[in-house]
Symmetry: C2
Subunit: 499 residues, 2 copies
């Protein structure tokens, strides 16, 4: 169904992608959106074969994969809608004729960067892989995509590539708009990132992987941006009044969140911070009972399960770390069982190793003696995708400095919900300060993710008919534009306004 | 009036900046805007002393400096206005209650990155230095600023710092919102960029300087973004019909542009590309005459004049480069006189050294044999701040591939005007692909320049009163927001919509 790509083939693939980039300029955002909707249709048409193949490769359940397929289809359709709305184009028009002066007519729009290399994630074989959000965003922006197929689920990747190719043929899009390369080793990915034909990189995976690609891209003679989402331990701050009021309910929600998908989410709550006392004691008692009853489950593949074992053992070997609770059911081969540990705030702030991600159903409780220690922990925490406050209004009122510090350290801050589950919507930010991502200015989920693959371009004094359609007076594609500082969908009516 | 800053003082300066960053969260954008307008007032109040000091240090004329001061004052006032409008905040609100579901309430806003280090330019002692656009943008975003005073005009920098401090005291802004460090060497700048208290860097200057800072920032344990504007040779493509029709007029405009400010602008047109023939011959004859009559003028300082001499000689020593025209008046000490050279397209595309910037009133004409060669030159050109087409409608019609390729290589594309003169407006993009800048996604002129110093942050399920004011239902600061995909200035009326 697929074969390894030789390093020699990469030049030809990128020549086609470069050609497609030029050809795509002759296609409107509406044509790109129609293609994206056709991809959604073809993914659905893969039917049960897609689910079976992914189950076989990823060990995820049928229910989970069916849900993820629905999310993936939703992504293609909603990115298509967003692409057409055109907010992401950030169209700005400054027209001197409305207030006569010697100033030039200047119009700005976001344009596509060029071919994009995408490295998907192992834990989302549909939604963050070959036909995932990065690919959809890049195509929405007008960029051809070359995906490095994930070695954990290459058959699934190959099926998705077929679906995209079918849609491409049906919609008569340029041949090089999408390509996929296959290889178990890291060489093929390195060749891609170093290739002058690639103009941006999207990556979802480990800190080590993201860091290596970012450095490689920075060392090119023409450096290119890398949008790497590198994971996170997603601290949950447990404030006393809320724990007192709803501790048992919160414990239940926490256990659900930390064991969701066997803890294999970048938004998994891998860290809790509480203040010693009666409320925390009764909360941890509830956790212990729930953890004890939580069954282990099969992880994505044997390598992930082995890595969970290894990193968890390393975390538990750190000085003064104690096991707080564990599943009472022994994990079978390739399974991961919940493990909760605890440590003092003093030890936590002194040992950066305690902030390393343990990818699986693991979480560390940091026990503070008082609110000042909790603030010190917040100040010591590295950049995160998310952070959560379990808090009443009074808890927030009493801890403004705390939540302001937490805001500095994350991309999404949640109150009284858990961070697993990343809604695909315009207001979503799935990103965060380093080392959660390599570029805190951009999101990898939600419509603004399209912006990663664009840059602004201003047109000065251009004849109307040679401008991109979105900048022409008539606004034929009906996108939102800021004209002389006013946001509007209106066309520019020269016959009236130039009098 | 100023003293060199010791390396030991930097820690204390950044501790204050960090403190100010936290304090600034309690100030609204309206308070920041009021402070920015007060800075504009205090710059004006420096009066003639500012002009005299800058004339003395920069050798720019009184008329030029008076104009640049007006531009600088305009910048502070217009960034203040933009800050208040709030478009740059990219507020997005997704509210499930409008279409009942289990989806969370998510609201996104751009937040300040933290203290910013600013390295100004020697050629704009007001508009791109201590109190220049980078400083104004960072403060608009809510970031304290530490400026490395430009060693070419330190007294001017010190005066501007005084004006900012006066405004700060009057507006009761936090003490660490602005600081300036002084040093003739490069150490103090390196200490700043490597300091963990600095979260972003803005730089305007040479490719070498920008590249060094970008690499330094990438090597930090917490890498930070560097927005370096590193110059450009701003190609001008001369298309035949337009040359035939208006060659003499274009020659005059070109000479005005290339000698403006003794060629010391990052948008100086340092490259022309034409097609051999009668039209080009008569155009170059006009250029020769005009260049011969153009008087040399004093450059910014002796180092700049010496560097102009050196880089021009190096350019003229390249194989097959010929002098096309020169000023007939001999340049006095520290003056720069116009020099135009020419070379064949074939030689140009084979020799990257011909794309190195000659900072001064210099331009190279690349003579192509036909339109295909002109396209080959366009394809060989590196990233630029601007590119210009001198063209009739018919020229554009016949050269679509050419102008599409040129668009890939610049940040602003101009028709029948010259690129010197960078309007401060929302539609302006002053940026471009590498090596024109280190980050093609952002502009250093115009309201969107504020975005360089922000990152998005999403709030999920937050109680209304603890949200930033711009995200609260009532929209008390009256900023533009995208609510459930609709752009609006309206407040959210819960009593009606939550029924």
């Amino acid at each position: 169904m697929y074969k390894e790509t030789s390093l020699e083939e990469v030049d030809a693939i990128l020549a086609k992608a470069g050609q497609a980039y030029r050809e795509l300029k002759r296609y409107s955002i509406r044509q790109r959106a129609a293609f994206m909707r056709a991809v959604a249709v073809e993914i659905e048409a893969l039917g049960n074969e897609l689910i079976k193949t992914a189950m076989n490769e990823s060990h995820l359940t049928e229910a989970r994969l069916t849900g993820e397929r629905a999310r993936t289809i939703l992504q293609w359709n909603s990115y298509a809608n967003y692409a057409e709305l055109g907010n992401w184009l950030d169209v700005r028009i400054d027209m001197p004729f409305l207030s006569p002066s010697t100033k030039p007519d200047i119009r700005k729009i976001s344009v596509a960067l060029g071919p994009v290399a995408v490295f998907g994630a192992g834990n989302f074989p549909f939604a963050f892989s070959t036909a995932g959000g990065d690919t959809a965003c890049a195509i929405a922006a007008g960029c051809p995509v070359v995906v490095k197929a994930h070695p954990g689920h290459p058959q699934t990747c190959a099926l998705m590539a077929q679906a995209i190719e079918k849609a491409r043929v049906k919609c008569r899009m340029p041949e090089g708009i999408f390509a996929q390369v296959y290889g178990a080793g890291i060489e093929i990915g390195q060749v891609l990132v170093k290739h002058p034909g690639i103009k941006a990189v999207a990556f979802t995976g480990s800190y080590q992987g993201g860091k290596a690609l970012t450095e490689m891209a920075a060392q090119r003679s023409e450096p290119i941006p890398v949008f790497a989402e590198m994971g996170s331990i997603n601290p949950v701050f447990l404030l006393p009044e809320k724990l007192k009021k709803d501790g048992n309910e919160v414990a239940g929600q926490f256990i659900t969140s930390v064991t969701l998908g066997v803890g294999q989410f970048c938004t998994n709550p891998g860290l809790m911070i509480g203040i010693a006392g009666e409320e925390l004691n009764s909360f941890t008692a509830a956790l212990e009972k729930l953890a004890h009853d939580a069954p282990p489950a099969t992880m994505l593949h044997p390598g992930i399960a082995a890595n969970y074992e290894k990193t968890r053992e390393k975390a538990l070997r750190q000085q003064e770390v104690e096991v707080l609770a564990q599943s009472g059911i022994e994990a079978a081969e390739n399974q991961g069982g919940i493990t909760l540990a605890k440590v003092s705030a003093h030890t936590f702030t002194a040992n950066p190793a305690l902030q390393e991600e343990v990818f699986g159903p693991y979480s560390l409780l940091v026990v503070c003696q008082n609110a000042d220690e909790m603030l010190a922990v917040a100040n010591a925490i590295k950049g995160q995708l998310t952070a959560t406050l379990i808090a009443t209004g009074a808890d927030l009122e009493a801890n403004r400095e705390l939540y302001e510090v937490i805001q500095e350290r994350c991309g999404r801050i949640v109150v009284n919900q858990f961070p697993t589950g990343v809604e695909v919507c315009l207001a979503m930010h799935h990103g965060g300060p380093y080392p959660a991502t390599s570029n805190s200015a951009f999101t990898s989920v939600g419509a603004d993710g399209i912006k990663r693959f664009t840059r602004p371009l201003s047109f000065q004094n251009w004849p109307n008919q040679y401008l991109p359609a979105e900048l022409q007076n008539e606004n034929p594609l009906e996108v939102w534009r800021t004209i002389n500082n006013e946001l509007t969908l209106e066309a520019i009516n020269l016959t009236v306004t130039s009098l």
